[in-house]
């Protein structure tokens, strides 16, 4: 009888321990989110979102050039990385021989694991040095390199999930292979591909290191795509390590805004993925 009681005790202990770990993990995230929300929400106002920075000492001012700069960088990075990533994903799912695909997948996984600061230095050497200037283009290149393997792999996975008889039906109607893939299989996988793109965007929205050596940052409106451009993450970095309280407040506000954006993107991804699974 005592053995059974001991066993029950140990079962409860184990359950409590694992439960404690789960609670601790969740608490960590909630504390982090809560802290940033509490610190930052007070300073988010219309002026913060729409005005340019004011000189130190003057109150007010905002980071509008950083909001726009981040948008520009993400848009440019997506423009090239999504196109090439989807193409690579289609190759992996439809055209590659098993051997070649293994190699390509390995390379993509290695790329996905590279430290982002190294990608930034790579962008500096490849684009900033020859161009002679820091630029939005260089920043978009570095961010795109991070996006590329994510888009390629999720595109491949989504295409593989499409039932094979759809492509078969298209081929049997007399469609050339490229039309069957582009007009039947890819649209059928569109939800999954979109999820992959949103995930990749959420990833690069919060990247700082690659932009340090490529986009540089800017306290004013950028002079075009071949000039240094501001980004939200860069401003958080520079404001936070500064000795000025006013800048700290703006860094908290920017952090709050960034966190809300990334959270929203992740929630959207969950919803889209849920709808796909239900179908």
């Amino acid at each position: 009888m005592a053995r059974a009681a001991r066993r029950r005790l140990r079962n409860s202990l184990m359950k409590a321990l694992c439960g404690g770990c789960a609670v601790a993990s969740a608490a960590l995230v909630l504390v982090l989110l809560g802290y940033v929300f509490v610190k930052g929400i007070g300073y988010v106002n219309l002026e913060f979102l729409t005005a340019l920075p004011r000189p130190l000492g003057e109150s007010g001012g905002g980071m509008v050039q950083s909001f726009v700069g981040s948008l520009v960088l993400v848009a440019l990075a997506s423009a090239w990385a999504v196109a090439i990533g989807i193409g690579a994903g289609i190759f992996l799912a439809e055209y590659g021989s098993p051997r070649v695909c293994e190699v390509v997948r390995l390379i993509a996984d290695v790329l996905a694991g590279l430290p982002s600061i190294v990608i930034g230095i790579f962008g500096y050497t490849l684009i900033v040095r020859p161009m002679g200037t820091f630029s939005a283009l260089a920043g978009a290149f570095a961010l795109g390199v991070i996006m590329l393997p994510i888009v390629a792999r999720t595109t491949e996975e989504s295409l593989r999930l499409v039932p094979g008889d759809l492509e078969e039906a298209a081929l049997a109607l007399g469609a050339p292979r490229w039309r069957a893939v582009l007009q039947v299989v890819l649209p059928a996988a569109s939800a999954g591909v979109t999820t992959g793109v949103i995930l990749a965007v959420a990833r690069i929205a919060g990247e700082t290191a690659p932009l340090i050596f490529t986009a540089l940052g800017n306290r004013f409106w950028s002079n075009g795509l071949t000039s240094p451009i501001a980004a939200l993450t860069l401003d958080i970095f520079q404001y936070a390590i500064s000795p000025y309280e006013q800048w700290h407040q703006q860094a908290w506000a920017a952090s709050f805004f960034l966190l809300v954006t990334v959270l929203t993107l992740n929630v959207v991804v969950r919803l889209v993925a849920g709808r796909v699974a239900a179908r």
């Binding site: 039932p163 008889d165 759809l166 078969e168 039906a169 298209a170 081929l171 049997a172 109607l173 007399g174 469609a175 050339p176 039309r179 069957a180 007009q183 039947v184 649209p187 059928a188 569109s190």
Partner: protein, 279 residues
Amino acid sequence: MQQPVTRVEPSADDTVSEPPESLALALRTEGLSAWYGSHLAIRDINLNVRPNQVTAMIGPSGCGKSTALRCLNRMHEVIRGARVAGRVLLDEQDIYAPDVDPVRVRQRIGMVFQKPNPFPMMSIYDNVIAGLKLTGESKHAALGERVERCLRAVALWDEVKDKLRQSGASLSGGQQQRLCIARALAVEPEVVLMDEPCSALDPIATYKIEELVDELKERYTIVIVTHNMQQASRVSDYTAFFLAGDDRVGELVEYGPTQRLFTNPQDKRTEDYITGRFG
């Protein structure tokens, strides 16, 4: 591939009520063999499919009848590592000749599969003309007329005419299969191949499809694979009996008019199969 002399184009003032003229052609195989990689699946098939007739291919599971069917419209070679030898003559022109485009062959020899596979992200209307869009022919006018004509031909028009914009996947199994047949007919093939089209359907839907096959032979040549002997005797004019020997290679054992094959088979193996001694 050159147009055979016997192909008839629908007349310009073709209204929906007039029965169109027949497109059917003869299809003949000479020494047809097919491999999956190094495994020989069917050997030396010599089959003579007559125009405007329904030819059934029967035999136990694994006898190679589906493989043989897929060789008739060059769908077998779509599988990685699959290979075909021998000749298949559509109106006395070899579809496996080196200068023949397989895509063009599949536009002339259509196929309906065992599991209904309408394109889920397209409406019923778009599903019917999918074959035209996928072959780049959708620019010519009168698409709406063709949709109506094909849906009427499969007895689906009255059931779906008010919901043409709904998804193809919103129909019942039997309706989906008729939609797939309409989709195959919209490309105006000369031969229609059907790979066990009723095995995923209930008896009433099966009966409707069998009625449809009987009507369709007025205009097309039909080849139907079925594992249901009663269906073969109901629906077909000619029957081909396939069997895999001890070496697991499929062969054509007997071929002849359906009534004769079922009442007075020439080969003992045929007799054993139709009387249920195996299979």
